[in-house]
Structure formats: structure tokens, C-alpha cells
Symmetry: C2
Subunit: 135 residues, 2 copies
Amino acid sequence: MGKMTISKLAQAGGVGVETVRFYQRRGLLDVPEKTGGTGLIGGMRRYGEADVRRLRFIRGAKAAGFTLDQIGELLKLDAGDDRKRVRALATERVAALDEKIAELQAARSALAALARDCAVSDEGPCPIVQAFERG
Amino acid sequence: MGKMTISKLAQAGGVGVETVRFYQRRGLLDVPEKTGGTGLIGGMRRYGEADVRRLRFIRGAKAAGFTLDQIGELLKLDAGDDRKRVRALATERVAALDEKIAELQAARSALAALARDCAVSDEGPCPIVQAFERG
DNA sequence: TGTAGGTGCGTACCATGGTACGGAATCAAG
DNA sequence: CTTGATTCCGTACCATGGTACGCACCTACA
């Protein structure tokens, strides 16, 4: 399972072909040499397991809320073995996630309470609409 | 406190002047007639409390995770008094928030565990990097 | 009345994360 | 050896939510 085409790679990584190319442009995936090439220019690029792992890495990190730029940094660190920096980025991200979660939970319970109040009666101004006006 | 300029409105709403204009372009805020106008074209637009409330509404709804398009719908519903629809949008949003919160919590605890494992030793491959590769 | 700073408007640009298109070349199957 | 599907590459476009610029005009304050 060493030499797959870009579409196989994309499939293995759970993304589209265009997304693979996009990641290549962003420098997140490298672009292998073209093999074959009957003509003077042609040939196709072939991908291996390492590329699949890298693609999965990107997916995993994205799911953890890292941006593509941060993922780029993580990939560089992976090569450089700077675990201290990786840990720092991870704990930073945990803090950011905690903040975001708290924010969403606040919004969620406020909104749920409003929907409940709004459901009680149809008299007077809608509490949901009113609440937002107060900021 | 009835006739403020756009910058006062922006200040009262906690956004920038350009953002107010952006919301006007999006149809979220309306554009009052120009008053004064010594010349044939000129004059300045003046804003009142209703505009401030609307701006606050947008802020509040944004904090609850509504998109600007959804906010546009909420504003139309506000005018039309369709509370059933407002409730539907609100409960829909609560469900979406629940989903997002669960997702972030999963990412958070996975990442926190990884950071912990990674901190234990500097031997072998970094668990954080490894974990992402497994998807 | 002079002038600094605000306003109006159109338009362009930014970041983020992709998605789509067109045309030539190349590959795989019949 | 032909045909249909892929690949490659550049470039353009999409949604989202703004931010910035340029330039004429307008307004408040000393």
C-alpha cells in the first residue's frame, strides 16, 4: 500500500482531492516528485502511508480546534521533536477550549430559558427578542 | 438623547462605525434620511434609541451564536410578531449549541489527557502528535 | 470664519478554509 | 488503440464577518 494516487490519498484521509491540493499549497503536505512521465513534462505524483498519517494528523488537530497555521507549526515541531513547545501549544489550546465552552454554555442556558419563557404565553413582547436588546 | 451621529451610535452599540455601515448594507440596520443638508446633496444621518436597541440586539444574538443571516430573520420576525418561529429558531440554536459544546468538550479532554501523557517523559514519540495521526 | 475631525459613499481588501473550473496530458481498461 | 476517467496546474470563486481607503462634503468649536 505504498503508491497511491491523490484521489486514494484523499479518500484515505477523509477529505476531497481539492482539499489535499489546498493543503499542499499551504505547505501542510509536501508534493512528491512526479513518476513515469512518458512525455517531457508529464507523470503523476504518488503518495504513501506517511502522507496518509499526515493528513489524519491534520484532521485530528483540526477537530481539536487548531487553525491550519497552528497545525503547520505542530507539523514543524513534529519534525524537530520540540515536545516542550507542543505541550505548550496543547495546553494553550485547552485553555482556549475551556473559555469557548464556558461561553457557549452561558449562551445555551440563557437561550433555553428564554425559549421556555417565550413558550409560556403569547402576550406582550417576545422575551427572546427583548433579551437580546439588553445586550 | 434622540439624535446621535453614526459614531455615537457605534459607541453605544459597542461596535465600530464601519461595522454599523456593514450592518446597514446587510439590511440589519436601516438607513435614516439625511437631515440638514445646506448643499444640494449633503446632510448627515441621525440615529436614535431604536437604532441602539437594534444594534444591541444584534450583539446579543451574535453572542448566542446566531449568524448575521439568522439575525436578519429574527429582526424580521420581531417586526412581524411571529413568536412561534422565533421559538423554533431559538430551540434549534440550543440544539446546535449542545452539539458544539459536546464536540469541544470531547476535544478538550482528549487534548488535556495527551498533554498530561506528553509531560510524563521525553522518551519516544510525542503522544500528542501520535494521537492526531490516528484520527 | 477657518479648520480639524466626522460623515457619506463606493469600492477594495483581509483572514479562514476551502470549492470549482478549464484545458492539456496522462493513465487504465476494453 | 481508442475511450473515458484521473491528474496536474493555475486561477478564480465561495461564505462569513468584518476592516480600510479615498475623496468630497459637512459641522462644531475656537
